[in-house]
Symmetry: C3
Subunit: 209 residues, 3 copies
């Protein structure tokens, strides 16, 4: 069982690192900068989760995350021309990463004895916080706050995990169903342009505080 | 006693969440983004404090902070029109939140056995760090670094707590006087346009490093 | 031995605080904002390292870092005119700080029993993460991701530490050689305009995720 989760974790790491490296490259970062942004995109969410759960972050016990990010950087350096045509492929990869990270985040929190509402937040954080740090580093407003059903897909997955657990499904089944929920939520949201309403606070709000 | 501090904590959470949600709405964040920014504004300072003090952040042991932020979001969605007219009310709320968070931050650090100079910093961090994360998320230079006596009011409150403790006042009295100090410092600073001097480093400084 | 490391730590703190305060002053921060940015530049990297290593951050056990930053602020306030002419001096100071922080970061991680590849990352983080937080606070893309051999000098130093340790040099000698490596790497990189290649991801990458 842990091996299965680990394999998924590594695939997700690769996909997220690619996402960070590509956005860094669009901002003319050098190789080191791109590597760091890729690495932080991949492990940032899990690291914040582990700091909050007071356990040692996974990447400090296993160098595979560093290697994964290195391979992602190599990939982008070698195939930068063809990457643009692969946008759809990367979208799928990124969504797989999102699903896997959510499952890992919820599962780890539950294993540590936290209640479900904490685990759901930790799932969403594992999936989405890396992308927020990435966007802060490239000096953009985090994408997930404005445009897409992204973190909401993680939250939906977390709730489904909770329901599956409530009807006493095996943890393996819970994780499969959760992952599929996250994956499909995001794919369908993008395909049918489903998004959350925007707040209308007015221009004066900015002066309020 | 803990119940009294908890109640104050919840009022402060609501006020801070409103502040985050309003600024997010001015940037056209969706509901999810606004919720996250509101939540982080409310619990960000306390979370960094708790991570540094190596205790479990308060919001992970009690879902009231999530609920508070949800109510704040609902409030902004329902009453967005009238919010602009309420700027002064929110200024008062926000200042109450600042005072309460400072008291909670100083008190918690002292209870954990840290010296007073650490507790004063933790008080300021509890009050002001959430707003810094908020401003980073909406891609603005943090307001408190440039414009207002904000965090300085927390620091002043922390020093007053220290003085009250030094003359052996009851902890209840220390907390009341600290809260009032923070509240009045900020109100008076805004009313009389008191602000700290600005540094004049010159344009070449930006090339220095 | 600890006293030697501590003295170096304080010199590095002063240099890094100056760097933060000068950039803050270029953005018209007030004294408080400049102090906070200087402080975070100085202790930010070490604090993230200590949170990840699960030990209490150094500045919470010793007020010298706060005092150092206060002296740095006083210096900038008093000598702001002459600071521009001192750019080269500050470049040297900053590079000394970088070298010292790397040595402290690697040494502390090894002392806590972490493997070398973690220690190297922690060395780089101690040296460079404070500057990243500084740049996020002043709302700029972190400089180290784009322009200079900066964090790479820390990484080089960490690798040299590892090699020195592998041939069983005294820890004092390891630290001296590591520090000199970091210092010379950065000086030479700036003098001869050595920099890492930039990624060419194309404009469409920004739309990918």
């Amino acid at each position: 069982m842990p091996t299965f989760v680990q394999i998924l974790d590594f695939i997700g790491t690769f996909a997220f690192a690619i996402s960070g490296i590509r956005l860094a490259s669009a901002k003319r970062f050098d190789w080191f900068g791109a590597y760091v942004v890729g690495f932080v995109t991949a492990i940032g969410g899990g690291t914040i989760r582990d700091v909050l759960l007071d356990v040692t972050p996974g990447w400090m016990t296993n160098p595979i995350y560093l290697i994964c990010t290195g391979l992602a950087l190599l990939w982008v350096i070698c195939f930068s021309r063809s990457l643009i045509r692969l946008n759809n492929t990367f979208f799928i990869f990124d969504t797989i990463g999102l699903a896997l990270f959510t499952v890992v985040g919820v599962g780890k929190s539950l294993a540590l004895g936290y209640p479900f509402w904490v685990a759901i937040i930790m799932g969403g954080m594992t999936g989405a916080a890396g992308g927020v740090i990435r966007d802060v580093f490239i000096n953009e407003i985090p994408l997930i706050f404005r445009k897409e059903i992204y973190a909401m897909a993680c939250i939906a997955g977390g709730v489904v995990y909770w329901l599956c657990d409530a009807i006493h499904l095996e943890s393996y089944a819970c994780q499969m169903i959760t992952g599929i929920t996250v994956f499909l939520s995001r794919i369908l949201a993008v395909k049918y342009h489903i998004c959350l309403p925007t707040l209308k606070g007015g221009e004066n709000a900015a002066n309020a505080d």
